[in-house]
């Protein structure tokens, strides 16, 4: 008899917290991890701002950002400069450099000899875009790409430049782009975080990544990027301990909930109810996440598309495939970082390796999204934190040279998600040093990306210590020419 009563109690508890759960979902689905927002007493002004989102019909619903960490050279990828090959070894004219500051690595060099790409370029697609021979797969999807050759930034070192791209400020503890989107638009999938982060590394000279790049800054912690790891747990602490069955876990959660409920009866604290909900959400994540990260059920055609490396966890190819799966399942912002592009010396060799890592899988991701009908609503972004100098750092030979950091002009590309396809935007001078046409500042890029997501970058703000902050600080113009 006692046992029956108790079991009834347990079932009752489960029902109870499930029904509590349903109270929280739907309307309150603002944050990546949903329920926490329920009780944090959001300020009224902020609430009305949130109700206004999206500010207009979005063109893209989700973003996959393939960050090429370390800064790939524009001169060996998309910005073809035959003059540099022709004028090999000649001094960079001061009329072109125009007092541009240099990093400490080349500031001491007595000369700045020009060096052209070791790799050949050809033209592809309707836009006749120049693409180097390192990227045959990307060349094959050129009609889906929007190549921007006129990016520029303010920072000249990796850490501030990366931080600037991701958070809109060179220093400081500001929210990352993905955190802003999680905050503004929330998640489409209640069992997955809105902002996921995947890391990989090539063999080239690497620069670290830092968790502040996917930090929530002053936003609520639920907007923090959740780093997926390629070790035992895709999400930290996700797996139950050895020896524990799902059934046993379920029983433990019921036990915890029943005890917490006694506490609730005494204290009436809504935080206790919220806690019970968080445990339920955790339980669901334990099922949902491994299902998504499991690529063993992908058909051969997909494996072939991304290349055999996609079966090796932690590679760029594997992460591209995982990014597609997460995005397909409603993750708002998937942020990849591929390290290894910082080629201060031995650039041709390093580029060959890095390009091999990313070319096929980047193109495959675009093709894969397209064949699933998802490319229209998914914005794919590919690029680094700045460009590289047109002059050589260190010893110079046509087949072996290095390039220093160059913030004044560099190339990225985007695809899908309402961006114009098959175009090349912006132009640089014959030296590939200065922008001559349609400059796009990092803040303009950020404003444009938010615009594609249906957000007015001036209106997505958060008040912290007396000031309203936004991703684009007090700058940024939407580049309308890039929008389809």
């Amino acid at each position: 008899m006692e046992k029956e009563i108790l079991e009834q109690g347990l079932n009752h508890n489960r029902r109870k917290f499930l029904s509590r759960l349903s109270l929280g979902l739907g309307s309150a689905a603002l944050g990546s991890l949903l329920i926490p927002g329920l009780f944090d007493g959001r300020k009224e002004a902020e609430e009305s701002m949130m109700r206004a989102l999206p500010h207009f019909a979005p063109k893209a619903k989700r973003i996959i950002y393939l960050f090429q960490n370390g800064a790939p050279s524009q001169l060996e990828t998309f910005d073809y400069k035959p003059l540099l090959q022709k004028n090999f070894g000649q001094e960079l004219p001061e009329s072109i450099r125009m007092g541009q500051r240099l990093t400490g690595m080349t500031a001491g060099q007595s000369s700045f000899p020009l060096v052209g790409s070791y790799f050949d370029f050809s033209q592809y697609g309707q836009s006749r875009a120049w693409i180097s021979s390192l990227f045959p797969h990307l060349a094959s999807v050129v009609d889906d790409l929007c190549i921007v050759k006129s990016m520029h930034t303010e920072a000249i070192n990796h850490d501030p430049a990366l931080t600037f791209f991701q958070t809109g400020a060179q220093v400081g503890n500001r929210p990352s782009m993905g955190s802003w989107l999680s905050y503004g638009l929330g998640s489409e999938n209640e069992n997955l975080p809105a902002f996921c982060v995947l890391l990989s590394r090539g063999k080239g000279n690497g620069q670290g990544v830092y968790s502040k790049l996917w930090s929530n800054g002053f936003l609520d912690a639920k907007h923090q990027g959740v780093q997926f790891s390629n070790s035992e747990d895709p999400v930290l602490y996700l797996s139950d301990p050895d020896g524990m069955s799902r059934d046993q876990r379920r029983k433990m959660l019921d036990q915890i909930a029943a005890m917490n409920d006694l506490s609730y009866q005494q204290f009436n604290d809504p935080e206790i109810t919220a806690k019970i909900q968080q445990y339920e959400m955790a339980f669901r994540m334990q099922t949902a996440v491994p299902e998504i990260t499991d690529i063993t059920k992908e058909p051969d055609s997909i494996i072939k598309l991304y290349g055999p490396e996609c079966l090796v966890p932690g590679t760029y190819a594997a992460n591209c495939l995982l990014a597609r799966k997460l995005s397909e399942n409603g993750v708002r912002f998937v942020q990849l970082y591929h390290q290894g592009w910082d080629a201060h010396d031995n650039l041709p060799n390093q580029m060959i390796g890095q390009a091999k890592d990313v070319d096929q899988a980047s193109a495959a991701l675009i093709t894969d999204l397209k064949q699933r009908g998802l490319l229209d609503e998914t914005l794919v972004i590919w690029g680094g934190e700045f460009g590289r100098t047109n002059y050589c750092q260190g010893k110079i030979a046509p087949e072996n040279y290095g390039r220093d950091h160059h913030p004044r002009a560099f190339s990225i590309f985007m695809a899908g998600g309402g961006i114009k396809s098959g175009i090349v935007y912006g132009e640089t001078d014959d030296f590939g040093y200065n922008i001559t046409e349609n400059p796009v500042h990092v803040h303009d890029f950020q404003a444009t990306v938010l615009h594609l997501m249906g957000i007015d970058h001036e209106k997505l703000t958060y008040k912290h210590l007396g000031r309203r902050y936004r991703l684009t600080d007090v700058h940024g113009n939407v580049v309308k020419d890039l929008i389809a």
Partner: protein, 770 residues
Amino acid sequence: MPNVTKIFAACIALTFGLGSCKPSSSGSVDLISTDQISYNFHIRPILSDKCFACHGPDANKREAELRLDTEEGAFTALKESPGQFALVAGKPEESALYHRITSQDPGELMPPPESNLSLSPQEIDLIKKWIEQGAKYEPHWAFMKVEKPSIPSSEWGTNEIDRFAFAKMKEKGLKPNEEADSFTLIKRACLDLTGLPPSPEILEKYAGFRNGNTYEKLLDELISQPAYGEKMAILWLDISRYSDSYGYQDDNIRSQWPYRDWLIHAYNKKMPYDQFLTWQLAGDLLPNPTKEQILATAFNRNHKYTEEGGVIDEEYRIEYVLDKTNTFSKGILGITMECAQCHDHKYDPFSQKEYYELFAFFNNSKEKGFEGDVSVSKPAKTPILWVEREDLKGILSFINHSDTSRLSISVMGELEENEKRTTFILDRGVYDAPTIPVEPSTPESIFEFPVNLEKNRLGLAKWATSRENPLTSRVFVNLIWQEIFGKGIVKSAGDFGMQGDLPTHPELLNWLAADFMENGWNIQRLQKQILLSSTYRQSSEITQKHLEIDPDNFYLARAPRLRLPAENIQDLVLSSSGLLVSEIGGPSVKPYQPSGLWESATSGRGVLATYVQDTGSKLYRRGIYNFIKLTVPPPKAIIFDSSNRDRCEITRNRTNTPLQALVMLNDPMILEASRVLSTKLSEKYANPEEAIDEAFKRILCREMKSKEKTLLLRYFESELKEFEKKPERIQSTLDVGEYPMNPKAIHAQNAALMQVIVSLYNLEETITKS
């Protein structure tokens, strides 16, 4: 079931509560209920938030030459409409300001629609009322000298704090809760003063106490424990952005940990706050400074240092001085000066010139911007304090350093007189755009820098700790309050400026700050005052009325329920299981951490490229000692809302997320602690009921109730059956963590008890200060 109804009712009430209780855009004050309008409490928050950006202190961005943040500016004839005035006392209809905020013409309306700002009807109403009442300005409350107010009379409470608190409760229609039971109070006080749950001995000694004297003895006993300093240091480590690595690109190891040892020591020896600050700001400038005084100045050197090859030296040297300036202004003065780095402050009366005058105090250190890349990295950077063996036997005996190597710590040290730098205003805050030279000074609107003070950091420390300084004492008292009640009397603890929250209990804040200074800046006395108050000693039970009138508990008619900080969750688990190694100080430790975190984010350079986990006793140290690598901070700390130590932080969030649930359920540290405790109790008791009883007491720090006992025993039985059915799972369940396992303890009963204990660690109450 009546419970269901109750829960639904609570949820619904909560939803309505959030909708109908309207904290003002910048704070917590109920705007509508007052007849007498106050500039400070009603009007300035509106003007500051919605008007000052264009009509405030920033001269360069001021529109139409109209300034609304000063009385003089607001009553001057309008430059663009001669004969008209923004404000006409007593006459809203003749005041251009009122006309513009109520205009139907989008070209006239203020704030302009394109600013994305607007005034609510209530705000417009308040402004109207204020003008009707004469549009009187007041100086900003936080910049007025701290005066000790008279104490309201009251029929409730123990000490002065209660008189102020009760007056507010009454005003809001609230009644204080009953005093919490002794178990609850003991746990609460232990957590607040030591960060540890009460030991079984403390519980035994004090449970059931009836009189205040016994309770006071408990507080004294807790403050005298070394664990007190460890608890106190955590907040200051956030403020001083302490870490074990340099941050930036390659993020190599550094050795600032002796500073942490000093912090713990300073709290334990009850150093008064004014001295505590002076040593940290300017210990090196004191006459014949001791090594201890110099060590304290590491406070100014804990920020990040770049080791990225190729950076420009001066760019980063300036960056470091900016960080010191911002840390001083935020952590000690509670103001956000950094806006004035690039331009005059938009909300507060701080000019860009004043920013660089403050900056000038920190600009004459021997520090360099760049001392080489990671390949030549050293554990400290110029200027360095060397600690020798003999120092450790003498004045620095509090440093926990066991091997024979000498230690180096980054500290402060000034340039020689003939090498001193001139500080310039930096245009837009950029290092290579100096404009006008400035002298060291402090913002005039706070409290003018006396002419007799040295124009160096020591003078700055004296200015900060002067009885005349309106901010230092208020900010610190508020921080202590925040640590105990979960939020400060001023909720925006790092912003006492125009945009900050208003104090919920302004007189109480003034009283505490004045009393604190009058009594020698005695931190422990202040804490005891608070902990002895009846306000603190209330139970934390929440009634329907609380949820209706004061869901956020601004008015303290109940004790708060607060989730523990990350460090103290670890402390609680290790301590209650008996695993805690209570050694004080020393280098940071690397406990269990999911594999691959450091490795996947590193550049591959430096000694922190891979995570080398510690073993043995280093696995069981308090959370404060966990190694903090800036670019990959300890994951559990971040999941539980710790500061990432990137910059000075003075308030942590308190979120509730599924990732936290996953940590509590699956973290090897918690599983190991559960296994060790279950093993110990299985050996001690044949009867599982007794074992559960003790486990409960150790973890929850109170007696088990009968309903809880039934549930726990039931759960134990069911787990026991499960393990008896599947004996192959016993070993793998128990086999967690490096703490040695007695082979004889591998049995179903132990495994089942372990599961019960894991479930206890996962209770909301366990990691809540209630």
